[in-house]
């Protein structure tokens, strides 16, 4: 003899069903996004924050301020193969701030404190300058404001940091407000699967 389902059972099944529908919908949405022929991407050779030759100008923060998401889908990425692991990294420190008692700049550059600095290997206690450092970007904090990208750009730095669109976060708006606001037409649609843009002189 079958037992009559209780109200709790019905609500539980409904909730599970709704959850599955939601998950399925999200999966289908992501799959659809992945299957799209094109996606938003930043052309680093156009973006003022990474474009070689654009020096002495303030960083552009349109990616951070115009994305429809509360925290922009654009984030800074450090390409470790190019990073110099510098003792004084101009993307980590505000190099114009007064030096502290250890001879380091007293302020950090990132307004959201999204970059951490870790010594590589054991610290030389007699000479702090005699060390390499690893710089990690916390993407959960980064909002893509571009300050670190501009500060790391050659010739001041090595140009290892760049802005990238996180496609797992991007809503893929047809009329993306970042693309509309971008003063350099650097926010463009490209075929999915396109290799990253080559860095070139502007």
């Amino acid at each position: 003899m079958s037992k009559e389902p209780t109200r709790r059972d019905v609500l539980g099944h409904a909730a599970r069903g709704a959850g599955l529908v939601t998950l399925g919908g999200a999966a289908a949405y992501l799959a659809a996004k992945r299957g799209r022929a094109d996606a938003w991407q930043i052309d680093w050779s156009k973006c003022v924050n990474s474009r070689l030759g654009a020096t002495g100008v303030p960083a552009c923060d349109k990616c951070a301020t115009t994305c429809v998401l509360p925290l922009s889908a654009v984030r800074a990425v450090n390409e470790y193969a190019k990073c110099g692991r510098c003792y004084i990294c101009p993307a980590y420190f505000d190099v114009t701030s007064p030096v502290d008692k250890d001879g380091l700049p007293s302020k950090k550059l990132c307004p959201r404190d999204a970059i951490t600095r870790r010594p590589i290997g054991e610290i030389d206690p007699h000479d702090p300058a005699n060390n390499y450092y690893e710089y990690l970007i916390d993407e959960a904090r980064c909002n893509g404001c571009g300050k670190c990208v501009m500060a790391c750009k050659e010739p001041a730095g090595l140009g290892s940091i760049r802005l990238e669109v996180r496609h797992d976060l991007c809503l893929d708006c047809n009329r993306c407000p970042i693309a509309v606001a971008c003063p350099d037409d650097a926010y463009i649609r490209v075929p999915t699967g396109t290799a990253p843009f080559a860095r070139e002189h502007a």
Binding site: G56, V99, P155, G157
Partner: protein, 279 residues
């Protein structure tokens, strides 16, 4: 001490007295002739800035050093080797050392020894004139070499044989004995005080002048600084003369005290003289 620009030599272009792709290293001989390497040529300019002669180097030159004396020798640092020429441009010999020589971005000579700054191995190699390796300088540190994220290692040897090396990642100029012992250093980081060195890695290039004066170049912003024997800043100038994207700007000083600096973007050499200097 104020300086002013008095001359511009070279520039970007395809004529013989210009450079098409790169201008990397310079030196000035006792007579005030400028030796400049770039592309795959060495060009010699007279004191008036007019091209006198030029010749092909086996590989693109990254550094050049002209010895003084009755029979001057011109050394051109390249990738994996150093070519030795006479003043007429005839190649006397080529020192190759595949196991040890990377990219030679600076060359100097002291007594019977040749010294090569190797950016790939982040140290200075010392050889005798027969080409026999003697020792390395700058490797005895935790970092196992100079901190040169800017990709260029420069140095000069003074009259006493002391080697002066910009260590840009540490924001200072270090002094070594020929056997590689660190004697001391000057300089510190500062993003605001001109007496300090700013950015990730400065100063990048160095020349010696007179009795222990140091002339260095910086990038971002590009500029020239002159320090006295005590490490005190005497002058900082030149930013407006260079392309703001210039870096690793080689520098040389003539016997008369004129300062020659490479603009690595415009591919030209800017010449500066102290305002109170004669002619």
């Amino acid at each position: 001490m104020p300086y002013r620009q008095i001359q511009t030599i070279g520039g970007r272009g395809s004529s013989p007295d210009r450079f098409t792709e790169a201008l990397r290293g310079i030196d000035v001989d006792r007579g005030g002739c400028l030796y400049a390497v770039g592309d795959s040529e060495l060009k010699v300019f007279g004191p008036d800035g007019v091209l006198q002669r030029r010749w092909i180097t086996e590989k693109p030159g990254w550094s050049v050093c002209v010895t003084s004396g009755t029979d001057p020798v011109i050394y051109v640092g390249q990738e994996g080797q150093v070519q030795q020429f006479d003043v007429g441009g005839r190649c006397r010999s080529t020192l190759k050392d595949d196991a040890r020589l990377g990219l030679v971005t600076s060359v100097d000579v002291f007594g019977e020894f040749l010294l090569f700054g190797d950016v790939a191995h982040r140290c200075i190699h010392r050889y005798d004139r027969s080409g026999r390796f003697v020792n390395d300088i700058g490797r005895d540190s935790k970092a196992k070499g100079f901190l040169i994220p800017n990709g260029h290692l420069d140095f000069r040897v003074d009259d006493r044989g002391i080697i002066h090396v910009p260590n840009p990642g540490r924001h200072r100029i270090e002094r070594y004995t020929p056997d590689g012992r660190l004697q001391g250093h000057i300089g510190r980081f500062s993003g605001t005080d001109p007496a300090g060195f700013s950015g990730c890695c400065n100063p990048t290039n160095l020349a010696l002048w007179g009795q222990g004066n140091l002339v260095v170049t910086e990038k971002a912003p590009p500029r020239v600084k002159v320090f006295d024997t005590g490490g005190n800043l005497r002058s900082a100038f030149g930013t407006e003369a260079f392309d703001p994207n210039g870096k690793n700007m080689d520098v040389a000083v003539s016997a008369r005290g004129a300062i020659y600096v490479v603009d690595t973007v415009r591919l030209q050499v800017c010449v500066f003289a102290a305002v109170d200097a004669p002619g």
